[in-house]
Amino acid sequence: MSKAITDAEVASLSDDALMRLEREIARKYMTGLSIPMVLWPTFNVGIWLSLWPLVIIGSLPLWVAAPIALLNMMLAYLPSHDAQHDSYARPGERLRWLNQTIGHVSSALLANSYRILRETHLEHHRHANKPGLDPDYVSHSGTTAWETLWNSLMSMQPDTPASNTYLATIERLGNENCRKGKRDQAIITLSHFGILFVMAANGMALEAFFLWWLPLKLAVFYLQFYLSWAPHRDMGTGRYRDTRSFRSIGGTWWTSGMTAHVCTTCTRAFRWTAPQQPLKRCCRFCAPVKSMWRDANQFLLADSQGEAHSFCSHLMFGRVL
């Protein structure tokens, strides 16, 4: 961390000045493409695809393949998320094709359109925790873990308020990407169910069930719980108010780094200065920012959520809470 930031009287700085400090830190982390974040979706999709022939020819028992498939589904979202934020490459950049390929393929694993996930996720960032505008609001609104799981279950139903939020958002936005996203989603949905039906017709319904359908549903529970509800529950609206850090018995890895999800919210400045950086580097960015903010937020140390965190916590953004 630079001396200028270390010595900054951050408590008395305006939001604009703080933003400038954040950008100054972020610039130091503007490095090249993250190879691990490219290998992650490559291996994840490759392993999942390889499960099918291995199980069908009997080389791999279904009871072994099913947990691997579940892991694949749980790991599929974050690369898609990074692509949604143009983290691999922005429009017009040389590796833009890579960004889009990772986004489309990872999302397809989850039987979702990348374009729809992107549009709804960006809308979530614009309106986090605002009823009627945040497409993920239903996922955040549970008051208990059980209620959240129930909300997830309702989001999987054919026609419930919880299951219609993304479609409502897409129709409200109504831009070209949304129209293409609806087309993509129709193709993906028909393909997804078509594959399930063909497998079932050939006496392999259980294989399809345990390699795709069930892992996908369980992954949705996981994703909505840890990537949506846990970082946003009981929070307000606004850049420094809509996301919280949390501690999980499973730690940072089990929660897909969502214990530090506040990083992705705080990194508006980071995205401006280092937009090609994926989530992984976001945390490296947050570490020095944490030091900067800690001084400004001593009064929040008594907060029950305010235990020190390995990456960053809402403590450091608490000055404006």
Partner: protein, 74 residues
């Protein structure tokens, strides 16, 4: 196309959930509780002149139809 998506739960119930249920019954010991030796029940007509898979597919499709009108599977 809209019709297909509207009635997708019926297709899903009949063409996937039904066969999944039938396979669970036939590929596990659960089939023994239906009074049929394991592995043979599917080929036999177990009720109404229908095989286990056919019965499960009909049940799945009916459940899917209920889901279409209720908007929920459960």
């Amino acid at each position: 196309m809209e019709l297909i998506f509207k009635y997708l739960p019926v297709l899903f119930g009949g063409l996937f959930l039904g066969p999944v249920t039938a396979e669970i019954l036939t590929r596990s010991s659960l089939i023994d509780h239906l009074g049929r030796p394991s592995g043979q029940a599917d080929a036999e007509q177990i009720a109404l002149g229908l095989s286990l898979t056919q019965l499960c597919m009909i049940a799945g499709a009916l459940w899917g139809l209920v889901a279409v009108f209720r908007g929920r599977w459960i």
